[in-house]
């Protein structure tokens, strides 16, 4: 078992295959010297001995699932670009900011060359003429590590003109964000990269693969997704798909935070690892802190509907998690023990999404704000029973119809599968509702205990929210 002071949070325990975190044990893992000593750029060299089509087929054949949230296979995504339309761009999504998510920052700080190599493999395979590596503004160490690595990689002939003496030429441009959660959404990321406010675009027609950066076909891939490619090219499809399951091959990075005995970032085997393994396994989180019991957990980032102990045997398999009423999202598990005040926890998340609404869509801008305000009143003990129904009513204006939730046998509830319908352009509005809906579905008694049964509830002033 090991943890490393230079990779805070990363836990290297148990005997599992490592695809993206293998170098974390080295303090100098971010240097080109260490990268060269550990098979660095061998994946790129392997790719360049094949045709772009062959490399694309390998990525498609390995079913490398997107690790940013939606879980869409990268090879399939690349294939969605209209044939013979150029130029095409690659935008790397390093804007990690989904509540609970902590993995892309580690990958950028600890192994920037692996990410650069992944970008090069993608650009080669999919005919992408320029790469923009968009890093979240609040991650200056990641900027410095990636900038240094890019400078080294240019000097060594891995990036730029005539890479390794071939006719493959591509620039990778390091780009800075400036603090806006919604920019993690791929069309907002593109708007931001065009120098505009980060407001998501309507899909259709603005599917990035068809109409992306500057109106051209654009691939937006997550940092972890691209970081998988060097290993895949070195070891081949069979080795990659030998790990995990057919529909969820390989590994994935998962951050488990909150009330566990040992919070941490783990590279787990995809598809087969269950939440029970992760929360209670000796090589993972080793149970709930202080011998407390598990009350609920958020399985896939703040946007995800909550699970309770009943769902502990759900594996990291998107379809199973979806059928169970939530999603795996960005590999972020937040754990609440039995001391947790559920209405306050829900308010914390709802406040985040209300705050991060870009303001474009009324149901999100107004709905998120009112969800937050009404919930605040309830948490303060100033709400009424009518407020609880009001919360659901506001939610339905953002997500009409049945909202996904997990089964709850004590309450006689069956699961409503993911996904939801929405009246907004992107998922920020629904994400403001998800914690409210989950908390009210599974723990309504805690809200009812909180409401004051007085008709004179506190008035909420109608003022602008900043």
């Amino acid at each position: 078992m090991a943890t490393y002071p230079w990779a805070a949070g990363y836990v290297d325990d148990g005997d599992r295959p490592k695809i993206v975190t293998a170098r974390f044990e080295h303090e100098d893992s971010y240097t080109i010297t260490r990268y060269h000593a550990t098979e660095g750029y061998a994946g790129l060299k392997a790719a360049l001995t094949r045709t772009p089509g062959e490399v694309h087929d390998e990525v498609r054949g390995a079913t490398v699932l997107g690790r940013g949230g939606a879980g869409f296979p990268a090879g399939t995504k690349w294939g969605l670009m209209p044939p013979e339309k150029y130029p095409r761009y690659l935008v790397v999504n390093g804007d990690e900011s989904e509540p609970g998510t902590y993995k892309d920052r580690l990958l950028m700080e600890r192994d920037p060359h692996q990410l650069i190599e992944g970008c090069l493999i993608a650009a080669y395979a999919a005919g992408l003429s320029q790469v923009f590596l968009y890093i979240r503004g609040e991650m200056p160490l990641a900027h410095e590590r990636v900038a240094t690595a890019l400078n080294e990689a240019y000097a060594a002939g891995y990036v730029g003109k005539n890479i390794l003496g071939t006719d493959f030429s591509v620039d990778i441009i390091l780009h800075w964000g400036a603090g806006a959660y919604v920019v993690g959404e791929e069309t907002a990321l593109i708007e931001s990269l065009e120098g505009k406010r980060g407001e998501p675009r309507l899909k259709p027609p603005y599917f990035p693969a068809a109409i992306g950066l500057y109106g051209q076909p654009t691939i937006v891939n997550n940092v972890e997704t691209l970081s998988n490619l060097p290993w895949l090219l070195r070891n081949g499809v069979a080795a990659y798909t030998a790990i995990g399951t057919e529909t969820s091959p390989g590994t994935r990075m998962v951050a488990v935070s909150g009330h566990v005995a040992r919070p941490g970032v783990f590279e787990i085997v995809n598809g087969t690892t269950t939440f029970r393994d992760l929360l209670f396994g000796d090589e993972f989180c080793q149970g709930i802190r202080d011998g407390n019991s598990l009350k609920a957990f958020v399985p896939g980032g703040g946007s995800a509907p909550w699970f309770t102990p009943e769902q502990l045997d759900v594996p990291f398999e998107g379809r199973v998690a979806g059928a169970a009423g939530s999603m795996l999202g960005s590999g972020a598990v937040m754990v609440m023990d039995d001391t947790t005040d559920i209405p306050t926890a829900a308010l914390t998340l709802t406040r985040f999404y209300a705050h991060e609404s870009c303001g474009q869509c009324t149901p999100c801008r107004e709905g998120g704000t009112w969800l937050m305000r009404v919930l605040e009143r309830v948490v303060e003990g100033q709400g009424t029973r009518a407020d609880l129904d009001q919360l659901l009513e506001i939610g339905e204006s953002i997500c009409p119809g049945k909202f996904p939730h997990a089964a709850n046998s004590a309450l006689g509830l069956e699961a409503t599968p993911f996904p939801y319908k929405m009246t907004t352009i992107c998922f920020v509005g629904p994400s403001a509702y998800a914690p409210v809906h989950s908390a009210l579905t599974h723990f309504r008694d805690e809200f009812e205990a909180r409401v004051a049964d007085t008709p004179a509830r506190r008035q909420i002033p109608v003022t602008a929210v900043h």
């Binding site: 013979e84 130029p87 400036a178």
Partner: protein, 203 residues
């Protein structure tokens, strides 16, 4: 002087030259202006607009969307305490209250000596290391009240100058693209197939 100075204007032009469209450099240039002045001034936004070929209003519209840009002076150190779920579950509210007491300001406020601005921040991607905070966006993990007091004392005494630069400076290392290696920006108006990509087979 709150337009970009001569050296930064040269740097700004280098950055712009990497993008197919100049306006894409808006956010990096706003960061550059904030690094120079500590915050983003109207004159700087007008200068950025000139440089990227946008109107001052367009640049202001972009700038005001993003939380990292400040439009009035802030402290030398921006102290951001995360309040999102993982940190909240692990006691971030108590840490924030402690910070308020120690610094004598509420979130949004700046200490009278201009050293510290306190902010209640959202998820900082360090969720396993809760409660987390940042000083000028440098992470401080698993904070306690005692660690906070020590950090503030060290900052006052200049003991963290090596790893925490003054507000406005983000990365101290910049990407450098050697001219002889640069491919240069690929214009969206250039429909040529990349040379390494084979033509589709004629069926």
């Amino acid at each position: 002087m709150s337009r970009l100075n001569e050296a930064n204007t040269i740097l700004a032009k280098e950055i712009i030259a990497r993008y197919p469209k100049a306006r894409s450099a808006t956010i990096p240039l706003l960061h550059l202006s904030q690094q120079q002045n500590g915050y983003v001034t109207e004159e700087a936004m007008a200068h950025v607009a000139e440089l990227v070929g946008a109107t001052p209003a367009e640049v202001q519209g972009t700038a005001t969307f993003y939380e990292m840009f400040k439009f009035r002076p802030v402290g030398k150190y921006l102290v951001n305490i995360c309040g999102t779920m993982s940190c909240q579950l692990m006691g971030s509210e108590a840490l924030l209250h402690h910070a308020e007491e120690v610094l004598g300001v509420k979130p949004g406020g700046t200490t009278a000596d201009g050293m510290f601005t306190l902010e209640h921040a959202e998820c900082q991607a360090a969720c396993t290391e809760a409660p987390n905070m940042q000083v000028n966006y440098r992470h401080c993990h698993r904070m306690t009240n005692e660690a906070f007091d020590q950090l503030i004392a060290d900052l006052r005494e200049g003991k963290r100058d090596a790893d925490i630069p003054a507000h406005g400076t983000l990365a101290r290392i910049r990407q450098q693209i050697p001219a002889e290696k640069a491919v240069g920006p690929v214009s969206p108006d250039d429909p040529a197939r990349p040379v390494w990509t084979p033509a589709p087979e004629v069926k």
